[in-house]
Amino acid sequence: MGLDFSIVPDYLDIILLGVAWTIGITVASALLSFVGGIFFAVIALYSPWIIRQPFRLIEWVFMGTPLLLQLFLIYFGLVQIGIDLPAFVAGIIGLGLHFAVYNSELIQTAILAVDKGQMEAARTLGLSRGEALRKVVVPQAVNAVIPPIGNNMIALLKDSALVSVIGVSELTLSAQRVIGKTYRPFEFYLVAAAFYYVINLCMEWVQRKIERRIAVSR
């Protein structure tokens, strides 16, 4: 059986719907991973020991096990404790939490990397601890953290393909559905790969723009 790309346009609508889902899931998981990342970082840096420990365990488990396994746990685990979420919600929670842990590491490093003198100077000038954090330390940390978080978000796009395994009709599963009808795996997985690649290039382009803007603002 050779290759035949002439049937691709007939199924493009299904594939494009999958693209839309992939973008939606990526954006939603990215937002969750920012919020979660900040939350985890604040707990790791500023909370008492006893609260920190369970979160350290969570981080350790999320970083030490494969995302696919975590998705199975969240999807089937929630069902077991009586929470029947649609697959795409479970997928977003799984991707979001997984990357929140990685973002948290980056945010912690960035906050710790801001010179101690900055906080001391701000406090000396009469700012409260909260104000000093919000107005002096965090804005500087944000600039340092955006490029590596951008890399995480590009990784998130690619890992969003994994939610196809728990039955979310994003790009990968859409390609699989089309293949089920046409028996043309090479062509349609290649088409799916091409769409991922284009989205990936767009994200890299945006990332470069943002990095340039940060470089200028410094």
């Binding site: 030490g64 096990t65 494969p66 089937f76 077991q80 795996p185 062509e187 690649y197």
Partner: protein, 215 residues
Amino acid sequence: MDIELMLKVYPFFLKAAWITILLSVLTAGLGLICGILGASARLSRFSIVRFLGAAYVSVFRGTPALIQLFILYFGGPQIGIQLDAFEAGVIGLGINAGAYMTETIRGGIISIDRGQREAARTLGLSRWQTTYKVILPQAARLLVRPLGVNLNMLIKATALVAAISVIELTYTAQRYIGSTYKPFEMFLLAGVLYMIIIYATGRGVAWLDRKVRIN
């Protein structure tokens, strides 16, 4: 928590863990070969070879590893490549990991001071001698830690071959979740084994790093 069930099924998880380890070792070996070739291409004198190296990295890092596996395993037969699931897993993941390792190795090589190369060339060493006797021995020491990070990612990425039915840890967990409806217990079994593998690998990398470092 159903301890009794966990005790009953854990031998199957242990067996699956060996498959995961075997997959990781083979993938890491193939990845390293692809990474060295890729880095050589990226640093080549010839622009066409540099372009091929850059294209390899861009395409394999720019698309999901899962899709790459599917193209190779399900699409391969259409272009005359017949592989069983395990072989497809090792080759697919190895080439994918190689793209990441290419960038790691390239980074290590270009971080070696230019003066080293210039000095070696001035002393009459050929390009090859300079690379193999001066640059690589220095770069290799710097590369242990970053390649260790690649290895850590790679071990977790072996879970993807569950999607093409290789009976490794994640596939085994998925199967038992499906047949027992005990996701937490099965996750615990597989998760602990993954963390042992990753922890042991991390210690090994740290040991090697200490051993090769010059202070």
